[in-house]
């Protein structure tokens, strides 16, 4: 055998039974899955980007928020109710000495305290009544 034209043209390949009946359905199923997958992927990407941008947004807000540290301790303390302060002091382990150590009193503060301690504003009659009650 020397020449190509001596060989009869013949189809030697064949396919499983009903292959071409089934193929369009298989392709349609795969195409459907690919479309669903790409939609899910697109949603996934959108969700991830939204989450990332939200985090960045929260970070920016946190970074540029009005700084709490700019408020003075006095003004912060002024916002706390007296009842809460008393409750805190009662529950804390701080001793009177420790509290006194923390206080920076000037001359006018000292005079104020002396006035409150020594000048109780009691008259003699009131004092006698108290002494009678004690005795």
């Amino acid at each position: 055998m020397k020449r190509l034209e001596d060989i009869p043209k013949k189809e030697i390949f064949n396919v499983p039974e009903r292959y071409f009946d089934k193929l369009p359905g298989i392709v349609q199923t795969r195409v459907g899955k690919a479309e669903t997958g790409s939609r899910t992927t697109a949603f996934g990407y959108a969700f991830r980007y939204a989450a990332a941008f939200s985090l960045i947004g929260v970070g920016v807000l946190f970074w540029f928020r009005p700084s709490a540290q700019s408020e003075s301790p006095e003004s912060m303390l002024a916002n706390v109710e007296t009842v809460d302060l008393v409750a805190y002091l009662n529950e804390s382990d701080l001793t009177t000495e420790e509290l006194m150590d923390e206080l920076l009193l000037d001359q006018s503060d000292a005079a104020g305290i002396e006035e409150q301690v020594y000048n109780l504003g009691l008259d003699d009659e009131h004092l006698e009544e108290i002494l009678d009650e004690i005795n």
């Binding site: 055998m1 013949k10 390949f13 396919v15």
Partner: protein, 179 residues
């Protein structure tokens, strides 16, 4: 239904799925046999044919009708075949001869091939050709495709195709004579 009607159906959102199904039914045999002659094995041809149609579905929205639908589909199938064979070589670091040996072994072991001795000899001779030359030979010899159409699919000049086919015939006849 001609290609223009098919495209109209595919481009209409309401009939897209139906139109694509018609396209698969219209082209499945031609694409499958085109691929099968190149990769020999049915399972491989089946995988590639499915991939071809999935690619068509993905990119048919971008098809601008610069070429005929038939040519465009064949081009996708041809690229898929050549990529498959290249990948096979790269994956196993196989020289050309080893892929040829693997495909030749499939000719005798594959379940869905019924060839006599002469046909097997011709197929083995074809496997000696470079992939692109074998592709051109298949389209011309087995499918009786005009050179102009092969030129559009392969993006090659008609003259180059004629020369390629002529060389392929000479190589095959030389192999048949020596064997």
């Amino acid at each position: 239904m001609d290609d223009k009607e098919l495209l109209l159906k595919i481009r209409n959102a309401e009939t897209r799925s139906y139109g694509f199904n018609l396209l698969v039914r219209e082209y499945q045999k031609r694409i499958y046999w085109h691929v099968r002659k190149m990769v020999i094995d049915h399972e491989d041809a089946d995988d590639i044919t499915q991939e071809v149609f999935i690619k068509i579905h993905k990119s048919i929205g971008n098809f601008r009708e610069d070429a005929q639908l038939y040519t465009w589909i064949y081009r996708i199938a041809t690229n898929e075949c050549l990529t498959f064979l290249q990948r096979k070589r790269r994956r196993y670091f196989l020289p050309i001869g080893d892929v040829e040996g693997e495909l030749a072994a499939k000719l005798t072991s594959s379940e869905h091939i019924s060839a006599d001795e002469v046909q097997l000899k011709l197929q083995k001779a074809l496997l000696k050709l470079p992939d692109k030359q074998r592709l051109v030979f298949n389209m011309k010899y087995f499918d009786d495709m005009p050179y102009e159409q092969i030129a559009e699919i392969t993006d090659t000049s008609v003259g180059a195709l004629k020369a390629s086919y002529h060389h392929a015939v000479k190589k095959i006849e030389s192999y048949l004579k020596d064997d």
